[in-house]
Point group: C2
Chain length 174, copies 2
Amino acid sequence: MLKPEKYDPLKRSVAHVLDIIGEGWSILIIREAYFGSRRFEDFQRHLGIARNILTGRLKKLCANEILDRVPIKEGAKRHEYVLTAKGKELMPLLISLTHWGDKWVFGENAEPVIFLDRDHREPIKKMKVYSSRGVALRPRDIMVVAGPGASQEAQQRIEELNLAFDSPVDEPPG
Amino acid sequence: MLKPEKYDPLKRSVAHVLDIIGEGWSILIIREAYFGSRRFEDFQRHLGIARNILTGRLKKLCANEILDRVPIKEGAKRHEYVLTAKGKELMPLLISLTHWGDKWVFGENAEPVIFLDRDHREPIKKMKVYSSRGVALRPRDIMVVAGPGASQEAQQRIEELNLAFDSPVDEPPG
DNA sequence: TACAATAAGTTTTTATTTGAAACTTATTAA
DNA sequence: TTAATAAGTTTCAAATAAAAACTTATTGTA
């Protein structure tokens, strides 16, 4: 989708991540892994994905250490694909996706699946953005600044962006 | 990517959402919109996306009410693309994506961008999954049940899935 | 042991999607 | 009035995806 040189300035942050997990099927494969699929045939059957595409996606997810390809048993030639810590930490992403769909695609009382807190069997909290003090934030309450990994251009664009946002609309030009 | 009939059983939940926002570029376009881009040329310049592809993506995002296409001024033929409420609520998704990339792709002290709470200019909380009681949950603390919108097959698969998970590994067969 | 079935891919062929670049038609600015 | 910019559309080549058949292990069973 994107050439590496095109990652800069500002989009690099997310574009690079999307190159790893954003291809068609990849998210669904990761989700299937959460749901307990481990073997090639499990993924294939449950997702109905073409086998050659599945091969490619599994390879890429393994290359990026989202999945680990481990022999079924010592020395076996068949493998299982299991989530790494890196893969497991995509949970917030997966649940954000699900919650958004529940609200905006399927609608209240038509959710296809519900995530529960295993201990109490109660639905988990809806995914939200919180301040460090624990206050839920709306999009307008959030701003962006350049991080230590920002390129020159990214820094510049972010500054412009913040200027544009901060300036009150009705401020007189002088 | 997917034919609608293939949404069932379990993957429908997320697959349908991915059909709306999962195509290459769509997420980046939404992100650009957060960052203040509104016009065709803004998106095109900042993302470096091919114009015909951009046209297609904007159409689809509008059709799905992520973006709203409004005339620049009363009766004008040029338009701006602005996020709808539905679009704005993708914020948790975008930030989940960013935080994950910060940790696993760029690494500590190399984050390209940082989201701040505007009021206090402090980094926001890392996206996490919480129980309804406010306790942070790990993947293993979460389980899934069929919602009211689950198909028959989905219900069945989820049940199998929970059985598989709940049964202690070392339980004797009889 | 042998036979069939299943698992895990690979190969081949076809269809769909992308991407780049040139082209068109408004609108704005000088 | 002319030039420049904006917002697309069209065309065509290259890359990707999908479907189906094929291959090679491994497992289960009579």
